[in-house]
């Protein structure tokens, strides 16, 4: 039996002028009188509610509603209607009796740092500072061994500062991994053989290796020296002649900035040697690291000849001659250097097990170039990939990356919100759709059922949208609650009715900003906040149309900017299917659409809703 829902009014900016009693009446709920509560709608986000209220409502089905975000400007009657719609929606969900996520601080969990070098040590140090027991599994015999691209002194210093909570496992490598945040199981290979251990989070930071930073094929290897291996003292011209040195920082492609800067340092050091003439070859002067532009100038002042070549324009002849075309002289020039210093790029080989064990996630999905995964994050919750393996420049950027990653880990493992998805085992068909669909690797097939690790889930609801049996959902985002909320809101919203499903990372912040600035929404617009646009489903959208919505807009992130990697793409694909279905039925497919949006694109959202309203009026 659905619970009786009370409206608990909390004043907030944007709610002034609304009469709580009228809102409750219009929404069909009771206004809280301080008495017994079965289920509740509160008009502020949970974080902003007073502690006393949170305690009073503990253990009850509550919809925490950021009401001000959905109302916006307009006359009193208009705002009342909008408030009533929002409260009705939240009440519809609360009436289903689902308990909200558990809010309780969690104890620190042990974490694994697998790797070596500055990034690995920084991660171990930071995690320990945050109170997590750390296992540092290094392939080397001690913690102080740097990667090839590290500053050995900095690494030595950091290794000496490692706190006691860091347990060092030497000559030990990670060879397999399963699970997600709060529940990883790692296979380690050490001197004593293979072992398996559980960890709350895993940082993968293999030691960096150096390779030439630009491809120059055909040069006699005996001529070539990597910039970091160069000892300038080895070089000087004979008494009466110049010795030619070539510094190669770009040919087919340009060397990255940090690598270009190191090449400049080598060039400058060589140029200061007696009778050494240095030519610096590059396609782009990549000076976007501190001090590099200055160094570039110093090089020119010291007599280094900058030779800009077109990509691919530097040719090697006979293994020892460099040839290129000079556009200013209009002719080809050749040089036979005594030494060729190569700019170098750091990297690390991808462990083979990474592709095997996390099979559902090929590399580009595990570590996509997504601004929301900056700072070492991967799409697998609780797994962080740092440093050279990720392509992060050596030095300071690696320390910062390690700090960001450990802070994220700490928030995830010990944070107050634990939206662990509930699996109803008796309904589950073991179809494994959720295992495939979850972008964060949370549901796992264990034993003969689906198990979810508590800290991994971000409540995007993609699993719930995919599950054919309604067996899995983060708390509050199951099909029954979503449908009840939709029905309740559309029952109260004035004509013409419309629905905006708004992603929590893009559509909803934009809507909230518009509301705060007094934007007037169409009266009949139901704003339906989602954690991720990926929670929409064909059922939900078609149900909205059945219930009288004239248009349904889903606002999610731009491709490549989804926190759940593909929630936006999944949503767009589903909506396309609904459009196809509508067209087949002879209905207007445009009634349903996906709007890619960033949280700062308020103007675009307002325009899209305006267009929706115009169409709805016509329909």
């Amino acid at each position: 039996m659905p619970a009786r829902v009370s409206l608990i009014w909390q004043e907030a900016p944007g709610l002034s002028g609304l009469d709580p009693a009228q809102v409750a009446l219009a929404a069909g709920v009771e206004l809280d009188d301080g008495g017994l509560v079965e289920a509740a709608v509160v008009t502020v986000a949970q974080e902003r509610a007073p502690r006393g209220l949170q305690e009073r409502l503990a253990g009850l089905p509550v919809s925490w509603l950021d009401l001000a975000a959905e109302i916006g400007g307009g006359g009193d009657a208009h705002r009342l209607a909008r408030a009533a719609t929002a409260v009705a929606r939240a009440a519809g969900r609360a009436a289903k009796g689902t308990l909200p996520p558990v809010y309780a601080p969690q104890p620190a969990q042990s974490v694994l740092v697998a790797g070596a070098g500055l990034g690995a040590l920084a991660a171990a140090w930071e995690a320990a500072a945050l109170g997590h027991p750390v296992t540092l599994a290094t392939p080397f015999g001690d913690a102080a061994t740097p990667g090839a691209d590290d500053d050995p002194q900095a690494v030595g210093l950091m290794a000496a500062q490692l706190p006691a909570q860091v347990e060092l496992a030497t000559e030990c490598e990670l060879i397999g991994l399963a699970g997600s945040a709060g529940g990883f199981s790692a296979r380690l290979m050490g001197p004593q053989g293979e072992s398996s251990q559980g960890f709350g989070a895993v940082f993968l930071a293999p030691p960096g290796e150096l390779a030439p930073g630009c491809e120059i094929h055909g040069l006699n290897p005996e001529l070539c020296v990597l910039a970091s291996k160069l000892d300038p003292e080895d070089w000087q011209g004979p008494e009466d002649a110049w010795l030619h040195a070539a510094v190669l920082a770009g040919s087919a492609q340009a060397a990255p900035s940090y690598s270009f800067a190191a090449a400049l340092e080598a060039a400058l050091a060589l140029a200061k040697r007696p009778r050494v003439q240095v030519s610096l070859f590059y396609t782009e002067a990549r000076v976007a690291v501190p001090g590099a532009e200055r160094l570039f100038r110093d090089c020119r002042a010291a007599g280094v000849l900058p030779m800009r070549v077109e990509p691919g324009g530097l040719e090697v002849r006979g293994g020892h001659t460099l040839a290129w075309f000079d556009p200013l002289l209009g002719e080809e020039i050749t040089l036979e250097p005594a030494v060729a210093v190569m700019a170098e790029q750091s990297g690390a080989p991808r462990p083979a097990w990474l592709d095997n064990e996390l099979t559902v996630k090929p590399w580009d999905l595990l570590v996509p170039e997504n601004p929301r995964l900056a700072g070492g994050k991967t799409s697998r919750s609780g797994l962080y990939i740092l440093g050279s393996l990720r392509g992060t420049a050596p030095g300071a950027p690696r320390r910062a990356e390690a700090a960001a990653a450990t802070a994220d880990m700490h928030a995830r493992l010990t944070g107050r919100v634990v939206p662990m998805p509930a699996v109803r085992d008796q309904l589950c068909a073991r179809c494994l759709s959720c295992v495939r669909a979850c972008p964060h690797g949370v549901p796992q097939f264990v034993g003969f059922g689906i198990a979810c690790s508590p800290a991994g889930c971000v409540a995007c609801g993609i699993c719930a949208a995919e599950c054919p049996a309604e067996a899995i959902a983060p708390p509050g985002w199951g099909q029954p609650e979503m449908l009840a909320a939709l029905e309740a809101a559309l029952a109260v919203a004035p004509e013409p009715k419309m629905v905006l499903f708004a992603c929590g990372q893009s559509g909803m912040p934009a809507a909230s900003a518009l509301s705060a600035s007094g934007h007037q929404w169409p009266a009949g617009l139901v704003i339906f906040p989602l954690v991720c646009a990926g929670r929409t489903s064909q059922v939900l959208v078609t149900r909205a149309l059945e219930l009288g919505a004239k248009g349904v807009l889903t606002a999610g992130c731009h491709p490549g900017n989804c926190r759940s990697i593909s929630g936006n793409l999944v949503a767009a694909a589903k909506l396309e299917m609904v459009q196809g279905m509508l067209a087949e039925l002879g209905l207007d497919p445009e009634a349903v659409s996906f709007l890619p949006l960033a949280s700062n694109q308020t103007r675009e959202l307002a325009q899209a809703v305006e267009a929706l309203a115009v169409k709805a009026e016509e329909a």
Partner: protein
């Protein structure tokens, strides 16, 4: 030192992405902090930026400000004073005492935080300076005619124009647009011998937005070198070069023509060429936080040779974001995380010492 003297464990000056990110990271570590923002609303530069997504997100980072503002608002450990200025700072026994005073600021702006009511003094264990860098004022390069010739705008102005939809079908539709790079950067003669890191990226992203909105518009990119912006960016560069005209030349000046601004640059043969455009965008760089009499003097933070602030100053002073050197939004956010970690370690050590 007596821990009871501490009003706020960490004081953060500047509420841009770096300051907000530091506050959020501290609160994730269970530490409270106070953010002091000079303007009426937090957000810093990023609040003025447009989304540069075309078919997909261009990874400009501008929308991450929204996440940070929401998270800062949701975390009770963070106090945010807007329209407030630091008037004095003093260090004693390892603690900083900082005086704040309210500053007349425009309208009440939406967003987290509230204007500082009255003068107050706060004692804190650590200070994070996150005051950002100063965007180069194009008036400093008068030969580029900003403010003199109509149609010449700084990139900052273009950000706002794109965000407001002022350029596109049904609005201004320039047929030819020029971007001039390195304005106020990589300029040793002008006393600014550093690369600002972000302007190649933002200019090419905005160029692509213009091309997307107005496929007929021709965009020319006057530059010295293109800087690197990560894996995906490197992969996109070839297709950008097909879409946009790349000219490797630093224009000498911008003049007023009959139809609009004209850009004078060295042509392929070395002789000067003057070409007309409808819109000329100056890609202004990032410089050190404003000079004399400013905050870092108050705190005794050491400027480096270019005037940016060293990441770690005297005891308990940390610098985050573009104040420590040109940085992108994403980099500033990460950088501030490290400052937060150091500040947290510092406060932890202070408290431990006090306990004996």
């Amino acid at each position: 030192m007596n821990p009871a003297e501490i009003d706020t464990p960490v004081l953060i000056i500047g509420g841009g992405v770096a300051g907000l990110s530091a506050a959020v990271e501290l609160s994730r570590r269970g530490l409270a902090s106070t953010v002091v923002e000079r303007e009426a609303a937090p957000g810093g530069r990023a609040g003025e930026f447009c989304c540069k997504a075309v078919a997909a997100c261009a990874r400009c980072g501008a929308c991450r400000l929204g996440d940070l503002l929401a998270e800062a608002a949701a975390r009770p450990e963070i106090t945010l004073h807007t329209a407030a200025l630091v008037t004095s700072a003093e260090q004693k026994d390892g603690l900083w005492t900082v005086e704040l005073s309210p500053q007349p600021a425009g309208d009440d702006a939406p967003g987290p935080g509230a204007p500082l009511g009255e003068r107050c003094s706060l004692t804190t264990g650590a200070v994070i300076l996150a005051v950002g860098g100063q965007v180069f004022d194009p008036a400093g390069k008068s030969r580029f005619a900003h403010g003199r010739v109509e149609g010449v705008h700084s990139a900052l102005e273009l950000e706002a124009m794109l965000a407001m939809g002022a350029i596109g079908p049904g609005a201004m539709a320039p047929a030819k647009v020029a971007f001039i790079q390195c304005v106020g950067s990589r300029d040793a003669a002008g006393g600014r011998p550093w690369c600002s890191r972000v302007c190649c990226g933002y200019a090419l992203r905005m160029a692509r937005v213009i091309r997307h909105r107005l496929p007929e518009t021709e965009v020319t990119f006057f530059h010295m070198d293109v800087q690197d912006y990560g894996r995906a960016w490197e992969e996109e560069l070839p297709s950008l070069k097909e879409d946009i005209r790349f000219v490797r030349a630093m224009p000498g000046e911008v003049t007023a023509g009959e139809q609009g601004p004209r850009v004078v640059f060295a042509g392929p043969e070395g002789a000067p060429v003057s070409e007309g455009f409808d819109l000329v965008i100056l890609s202004v760089g990032i410089g050190p936080p404003n000079g004399a009499g400013s905050l870092h003097e108050l705190f005794g933070a050491a400027p480096d040779q270019d005037g940016f602030l060293a990441e770690e100053g005297p005891d308990g002073l940390f610098v985050a974001g573009a104040a420590a050197g040109p940085r992108s939004l994403n980099e500033s956010i990460t950088h501030a995380g490290l400052a937060a970690s150091r500040a947290a370690a510092r406060v932890g050590a202070l408290l431990e010492a006090a306990r004996g």
